[in-house]
């Protein structure tokens, strides 16, 4: 008797539902390949094209990985786009203007690796402030990071008075050349930025699946009170998660500035929305506790393929936004459906078990 209690009724549709993001990605690739080939004679799957898409995906993906941890704790980070902008501006300023030392009457120029380190630390520190605002001063994550979004963007503009830092090649006589390598460099034919996303993804997956820290992130998002009573240092873990998100965003800021060989203070505007969308498309629940890094990266690919494909098809920017919005809504509606089916199937199983217990 007992072996017969399995809910096969839902299994196939459940598997399809669970794999929906990757199915959506495959469908998108097929649709664009066919459409572009027939209407414009463009080979969507050409390696050069795929590499361009991957570069775009890396930008969204790196931010989205940091964002996923934040959302898993039940929070949100709206400041990431501004951190992208600020990080690029600080790097640009350090390369082109250096640090003016009034007392010595000179200017200090840093080596590029040191500049990169400074920017990454700055992003991490801003994330740390976000974390402190949220955990120590009890500011709601939405509001705290919204405030930080304005502050960081403000400083990005203040750094140059709103102007762009152009020509970030550096000068050999100042010993600060090499910054463009980050954006233009390749390893085994793939841009560094894509490798960085892969590296970050592997680290993040390991953290999520195999470390107590990752387990604690999921627990906090699932039930903060229970997590606290289980001895989890909720404030510390939450703060670290925002720091990680800040770090990832600063990295993206550096990559973009390096790719463009210029830093513009408006860079990264509304990128936070792409990062959130990628996480949500990948199955991360905004109420926390549910989601995966792998899902998020696939989500980032969906967004990247969608935008680039639409651009290549010549769809207007306005319609692109409409379509992106529809895709996100569809993903969330499917997510709700899956949860309802999950709840229902465990309920029916419960009932069946109870009946059997009774009849026994």
């Amino acid at each position: 008797m007992k072996n017969s209690i399995k809910n096969n009724d839902f299994s196939i549709s459940m598997i399809l539902l669970k794999m929906r993001t990757i199915i959506a990605l495959i469908l998108l690739v097929i649709v664009f390949t066919v459409l572009l080939n027939t209407t414009r004679g463009i080979n969507f799957l050409h390696p050069v094209n795929l590499m361009t898409i991957a570069k775009h995906v890396a930008i969204t993906g790196i931010m989205a990985i940091g964002m996923t941890f934040v959302i898993l704790t039940g929070g949100i980070d709206l400041s990431v786009g501004s951190i992208v902008g600020l990080s690029g501006m600080i790097a640009g300023g350090l390369i082109n203007e250096g640090i003016v030392l009034n007392m010595f009457g000179g200017t200090l120029y840093l080596h590029v690796p040191l500049i990169i380190l400074v920017c990454l630390l700055l992003g991490t520190a801003i994330g740390g402030v976000n974390g402190l605002l949220i955990t120590r001063l009890n500011v709601a994550p939405f509001i705290g990071t919204l405030g930080m979004m304005y502050i960081a963007r403000g400083f990005a503009n203040i750094r140059s008075g709103g102007a762009t830092f152009p020509n970030l090649q550096g000068k050999p006589e100042l010993g600060n050349t090499g910054f463009p390598i980050l954006g233009a460099g390749r390893f085994l034919g793939m841009p560094f930025s894509v490798w960085l996303m892969i590296l970050l993804m592997i680290i993040a997956i390991y953290i999520a699946k195999k470390t107590p820290f990752g387990r604690h992130i999921y627990a906090i998002g699932g039930n903060q009170r229970a997590a606290e009573l289980s001895g989890i240092q909720v404030k510390k873990v939450t703060t670290l998660v925002y720091m990680f998100s800040g770090f990832a965003s600063a990295l993206v800021g550096l990559i973009i500035a390096s790719q463009l060989v210029a830093a513009h203070p408006a860079t990264g505007e509304s990128y936070e929305m792409n990062a959130i969308a990628a996480a949500v498309l990948g199955g991360t629940s905004l109420s926390g506790g549910i989601g995966s890094i792998g899902g998020t990266v696939i989500g980032a690919f969906v967004i990247g393929v969608l935008s680039d494909g639409l651009v290549m098809l010549g769809v207007s920017e306005f319609w692109q936004n409409v379509i992106k919005g529809l895709v996100i809504l569809a993903a969330v509606i499917l997510d709700q459906t899956q949860q309802r089916i999950n709840a229902r199937s465990s309920e029916t199983r419960d009932k069946k078990q109870r009946k059997i217990v009774k009849s026994a």
Partner: protein, 519 residues
Amino acid sequence: MVNRMSDAVILRAENIRKVYPGTMALKGVNFNVYEGKVNVLVGENGAGKSTLMKILSGVEMPTSGKFYLQDEELTHLTPKTAAQKGIGIIYQELSLFPNLNVAENIFMNKELLKNKGWIDHGTQELKAKELLRKLEQDINPRSKVSSLKVGQQQIVEIARALAEDVNILIMDEPTSALSKTEVEILFKIIDELKSNGVSIIYISHRLEELIQIGDYITVLRDGELITEKPMSDVNLQWIISSMVGGEASKIFHSGKRQIGDVVLQVKDLFLHGPAEEPLLKSISFDVRRGEVLGIYGLLGAGRTETLESIMGLHREARGKIFLENELLGEPDIKSRIRKGIALVPEDRQREGIVQTMSVSHNLTLPGLWRIVKKKIHISGSDESSCVNETITSMSIKTSNPADSIMSLSGGNQQKVVFGKSLLIQPKVLLLDEPTRGIDVGAKGEIFNIMNDLAQKGLAIIMVTSELKELLAICDRVIVLSKGRITGNFGKEDISEENIVNASTIGHMTTAQRVGGKNK
């Protein structure tokens, strides 16, 4: 004197059953409400009192059974229709909107309107003022409920029920947050309501109070109606024994425990809450190896706060706690868990489990540091072996440890919460109402596990409101009342009467003062 024959039954419930997933809360209960009388309903926690009242007020639907108001059968009752029929309820837990003002709360969902749409705030406030004056409370109808003291909030709750014309008023522990004078006023109002023909269903754990105010008494136990009698026929002793049940409940106790050295010592524990009076006042006690110490007390006595303070949850707690003669430092849950203190919290859903995680991840959550290699790596094989061990030893019924915790029944979820506390290999186990909301079978299993653990030398502190459990398993019982220890009973002295008497010491004067007025 109450004469049974002359009192008309205004509300009659017949054979009410209520089934929740995993438990049957009411097993065919009959219940009568007499016109213009106070009908007292008693029973231990989980006896089904609150469930029955929720059904009568339309909040919950009964699984089966009928009820009649005068001779009209009531079906598909909702809170709104119950109110229209004149059934009002004052809940045990405050159900006010703290963000709204007093008048808005009193007239919630029965707003007084002018011009068919606009709320008539002026009249509402005037009427609210009137109601509050009747309750002898000088509360401004415009003050926000969140700014009131708990006792005043309770008064607002009562005013809310009185704002409508009620025939039947249900009061579920209305006095738990009230001071002596406020209780006196409430009793005066109950008298007034009675003389206006209003029937009152009164639930309270303060037994003296019941004897003073009640005309009829109905006893529930384990979801069944035990008996119904006029209050004049019964005394305190009778109430206690019919609540608890006659049988000597020694079923769980094995008596083979070896009680050893002191493991945990609590000295002069103080805890200040939002109210003026501290939640805990100079609590001192100790627990020994292999001992099961019970803590009993009424709502608000400070039981949960005591356990939470030992666990390190309250940073503002003052006092000394020694674990194996070592003074514990600043309150910090993580370090106390690592030193060997574990807590099974009172509210399983809110504090015990992480709903989004699997059975196995829930189990290992507080004890991850035990299976971690090089401080960061969770060893999958170590994790699954200790998960499987716990699932077997606690006999948790799950088809797969990777299944969601929400796929388990309440009793099995509770065993997971137990199991996760045990996986840290504690020296002291703190249990807060460990059998709440689980069925009798699972209760028995939980007790057997407790017994095993005590025999293996664990010190256990159990907070419970069920007297039967205290009698069944505890080696010693301390009783709290309003944040103080008012009783400490060794094995021989543990009796229902001793415990109940000690638990009301903090409230005794209330009942005595009001005494006599209602007879």
